[in-house]
């Protein structure tokens, strides 16, 4: 009879408590399965059954940590955690005794583990057929994946928190070569819930391909740029890095002393929201048993809060915000649950219609590979289009787009009324007033 996740976690905790002053165990197990298509064909059906255990200890006031996925090596795990604590940081918190007050969030959909791989393959195949109906020479890839798992956090103060969750993701893409020009387009989504509608992604892939039939080359110019909801996540990464309690504690945040100040355009409200039923980053408690909660990072452009885990909060003399993020193989770190950027009022189509000359950008190459803390970016437009008098005139290639995230978010022309979810991010389309583009026609 296999042991339950809770039994395993408690048995590790019991053995640790015999040798350690204070201990916290995180145990995770999950099973996944998926289908993967390449070059229009179903190539591989995969599955996995993985587990792991992490042990954090406080010994003589110091933190120690180790992890393993060998359940026959628990004594070594405890010794390793103790060795770690001989050097570790002074603990600035106590393990919580309970997660009282946690708000329940739906994270488990029984339809997900029930999904057969035959159905998963059929869904992907229909999507590929849909793209081929318009573009028979597109080489399509994609797939569907499901997982279901249980995570237990328990500690020597008495906390025992078990959560089961499911995950479902699907993606589809098309790849075309015209002459020596490549075009690669991918769409997809993920959440805790089964979603049968892969066709909407396939239709979107076909739309992007249709829009890319003509290529245009830019010289150098400054122009308005409308980003799709997933295309400017590298800018949100700058705000995420600067509001992370760890960056603040280290003194490296540009926003460290600016709580309460207006930092971004007053139309920008950015939330960390763990309470969205079935969203990718949702949770009722964080990775160290602290109840998760909804909070604004920026409200109407004003900086409202930083994100903390227990230790970082303790060092800063404040409270954890319930943002201790971790897997079983690492210590917690402050991190976001779901990021949600509030929508504006104008429909995306209307923003586009109002654009005299500008760019529509859906994907950037090299995003996040420049000075993220400072917000500086310089990216190649991987999938983007020139817009003239409200109409897409062609795909822009071999063109760099440069700017600064803080500046861009203070020069917003319009935020769309509609939003899209991409993983743990919900965001609208945003049109920035003026960014600098330079292409080969320079």
């Amino acid at each position: 009879m296999p042991q339950s996740a809770s039994d395993i976690a408690q048995s590790v905790l019991k053995r640790a408590k015999a040798r350690v002053e204070q201990a916290e165990v995180i145990f995770e197990e999950s099973e996944s399965a998926g289908v993967s298509f390449q070059d229009d064909k179903l190539k591989t059906v995969s599955s996995s059954a993985v587990r792991g255990v992490g042990l954090r200890v406080i010994q003589k006031g110091r933190l120690g940590f180790s992890s393993t996925n060998d359940l026959d090596a628990i004594d070594l795990l405890i010794s390793n955690a103790l060795d770690s604590a001989a050097f570790g940081q002074e603990a600035k918190f106590a393990f919580p005794a309970s997660a009282a007050g946690a708000v329940p969030v739906a994270q488990f959909d029984p339809q997900v583990p029930a999904l057969t791989m035959e159905r998963a393959a059929d869904m992907t195949r229909e999507g590929i057929d849909c793209i081929h109906a318009s573009f028979p020479d597109a080489h399509c890839g994609g797939g569907v994946e499901r997982d279901a798992g249980t995570s237990v956090v328990c500690n020597s103060a008495g906390l025992h928190q078990e959560e089961s969750s499911t995950g479902f993701s699907m993606g589809i893409g098309g790849f075309l070569v015209r002459g020596e020009s490549f075009l690669s387009v991918d769409e997809g989504s993920s959440s805790c819930r089964f979603d049968p509608d892969l066709m909407r992604h396939a239709r979107k892939v076909a739309d992007w391909i249709r829009m890319s039939q003509k290529e245009v080359h830019l010289g150098e110019e400054t122009l308005p740029v409308l980003f799709t909801p997933r295309a400017y996540d590298f800018m949100l990464g700058t705000f995420g890095a600067n509001t992370n309690g760890k960056t603040v504690q280290k003194g490296a945040s540009l926003l460290a002393k600016r709580l309460g100040e207006r930092i971004l355009d007053s139309r920008v409200s950015l939330w960390d929201d763990p309470w969205v039923d079935y969203a990718d980053g949702s949770m009722s408690v964080d990775g160290e048993g602290v109840p998760a909660r909804r909070k604004a990072l920026f409200e109407k452009g004003v900086l409202k809060t930083f994100l903390y885990d227990l230790q970082t909060a303790g060092m800063m003399g404040t409270q954890s915000t319930g943002n201790g993020m971790r897997g079983c193989s690492s210590m917690p770190r402050p991190g976001e649950a779901n990021l949600r950027l509030e929508p504006g009022r104008m429909p995306m189509a209307e923003i586009l219609r109002g654009m005299k000359r500008g760019l529509l950008v859906d994907a950037a190459l090299g995003a996040g590979q420049s000075n993220v803390l400072a917000g500086a970016f310089s990216v190649n437009i991987e999938l983007g289009f020139l817009v003239e008098n409200g109409e897409v005139v062609g795909r822009v290639k071999d063109c760099m787009l440069a700017g600064n995230a803080f500046d861009a978010f203070n020069r917003i022309r319009e935020i769309s009324a509609e939003t899209e979810w991409h993983g743990s991010l919900e965001a609208p389309f945003i049109c920035f007033d003026a960014l600098n583009a330079v292409g080969r026609a320079h």
């Binding site: 390449q38 064909k41 179903l42 190539k43 591989t44 059906v45 995969s46 599955s47 996995s48 059954a49 993985v50 587990r51 792991g52 940590f65 180790s66 992890s67 393993t68 996925n69 060998d70 390793n80 060795d83 770690s84 050097f87 940081q89 791989m117 035959e118 393959a121 080489h139 070569v177 020596e180 020009s181 490549f182 690669s184 280290k250 003194g251 490296a252 540009l254 060092m315 193989s329 190459l365 090299g366 590979q369 420049s370 000075n371 803390l373 400072a374 500086a376 310089s378 190649n380 991987e382 290639k397 071999d398 063109c399 760099m400 787009l401 440069a402 600098n436 583009a437 330079v438 320079h442």
Partner: protein, 455 residues
């Protein structure tokens, strides 16, 4: 356990081919950052995977419970059967047996955690006292060592014992709203000695960060660029390496035409190589993740396409030889075609001469990142300088270069004589598998007509 693995791949009913990988390992890490020791300790891991080919289609399963291996073999076979047939075949690879070990000069697993901690603390202190503009620092050490067992139904049974270690240093400086970072990283299979003696590098990292505070972003435009050996490596990796991975090409007729062996991609001086068999580099191994031996593969020779990177499957379907480049980052993943140690061979032009011939351009050094969509690529430098009248002039920051593979390789107009190879704690990402240990390198290289983003 070895017997269990050996037996698991024999006589799998209905299967054309079966393979098992099992990894047992341990790793340690130390991170000093600012005034605190952020993390320290050792962890262990054990896991495995099975891949089975049935009627030209693959089933793959990964797991931690090794005792249940026979059940996972049956699962992978059933999954492959479910596909109902495919086109996959495998090019032959002679069976190999034996144990293969990396030879670290100083074995990191024999160095105490206390010594690793003291080393990082000393580097972190050196970084912290480097300048009064320092906001925070980090000195991070990590190592991994373990046994990777591989068995397949062709009769291969090998154990590879790999030991990797390295250090990453960083300093963040701030002046008003200007925040800049200096970085340095080493990491490969040569042993713990590479982690020692980096005090001077700490000074360089701080100097680099402080200098960036005074640097200006470039004006957008097209420039003549000189890349240093490290950035040349990233350029080679992004601009050509990924395009020579055969899994991208092997089922696409138009791409097969574009990537036809013999096609001229660059000048006669241009040689690009991928070689996993060089001892001690970050991307080195004895056998890839499907048991094919590592070897030296020329990709471009005298500017002509002469080879590409293969798995056994892509080699069979293209009628070429396996190159030993099917790699998985861990037992959790199927092998896919990847680079190992990729470089541009050196030629004869000294850096000074290369520089003196540039009237107006940019010298870009070190690497921050790189990405490709196979045709277009971008790569960003850590440091850069404007070149004016053949001399290095004012420092620049946020220099990100972009290009198009078919255009840029033809615009390389000078190749230096000073090749070096670079590993580090980072790695390459592809198909959701990241980071994969790789090394890149080359000499100084001059490229005409490169687009640089900016104001």
């Amino acid at each position: 356990m070895e017997d269990l693995i050996r037996k698991a791949v024999q006589g799998v009913a209905g299967a054309q081919y079966a393979e098992v990988r099992v990894h047992r390992g341990r790793g340690s890490h130390v991170t000093w950052s600012g005034k605190e020791l952020e993390g320290i300790g050792e962890s262990t891991s054990l896991g495995g995977c099975v891949r089975v080919l049935v009627n030209g289609a693959w089933g793959f399963t990964s797991f931690n419970d090794i005792a249940d291996l026979p059940r996972y073999v049956a699962m992978a076979r059933d999954q492959a059967q479910l596909i109902g047939g495919g086109t996959a075949r495998l090019a032959p690879v002679a069976p190999h047996t034996g144990t293969y070990k990396t030879q670290p000069q100083e074995d990191p697993t024999q160095v105490s955690l206390a010594e690793k901690e003291a080393l990082c603390r000393a580097y972190n202190e050196a970084l912290r006292r480097g300048s009064d503009k320092i906001k925070t620092t980090s000195a991070r050490y990590m190592d991994s060592a373990g046994s990777l067992f591989f068995a397949n139904s062709d009769g291969t049974f090998i154990e590879q014992q790999m030991t990797f270690c390295g250090v990453a240093l960083a300093a963040i400086v701030m002046e008003g709203s200007n925040v800049q970072t200096g970085r340095h990283s080493v990491g490969d299979l040569r042993g713990f000695q590479i982690c020692r003696g980096l005090e001077a590098k700490c000074d360089d990292v701080v100097r680099q960060a402080v200098e960036l505070l005074t640097a200006k972003p470039p004006e957008a435009g097209k420039y003549t660029i000189i890349t240093d050996p490290q950035l040349t490596g990233v350029f080679v990796h992004e601009a050509f390496g990924h395009l020579s991975e055969a899994d991208f090409i092997y089922e696409h007729d138009r791409l097969k035409e574009i990537m036809k062996l013999g096609r001229q991609f660059g000048g006669e001086e241009l040689n690009i190589v991928d070689d996993a068999s060089i001892p001690g580099l970050a991307g080195s191994y004895f056998f890839d993740s499907e048991g094919a031996p590592a070897r030296k593969n020329y990709l471009l020779k005298e500017g002509k396409l002469v080879g590409r990177l293969h798995s056994r499957e892509t080699a069979a379907l293209m009628g070429e030889e396996p190159s030993g480049n099917a790699r998985a980052i861990s037992y959790g993943y199927s092998p896919i075609v990847r680079m190992s140690n990729t470089y541009m061979e050196e030629r004869s032009v000294p850096f000074d001469q290369m520089l003196s011939e540039v009237k107006d351009g940019i010298y870009a050094k070190g690497f921050l990142g790189g990405q490709t969509d196979m045709e277009m690529f971008s790569f960003s430098s850590e440091q850069a300088y404007r070149i004016r009248d053949g001399k290095l002039a004012e420092p620049l920051r946020d220099v990100v270069l972009t290009g198009n593979v078919f255009y840029t390789l033809k615009h390389i107009d000078a190749i230096g004589n000073d090749r070096r190879m670079f590993g580090g704690l980072g790695g390459c990402g592809k198909g959701g598998q990241s980071p994969l240990r790789v090394a890149d390198g080359g000499p100084h290289v001059r490229i005409r007509d490169v687009v640089v983003g900016g104001q």
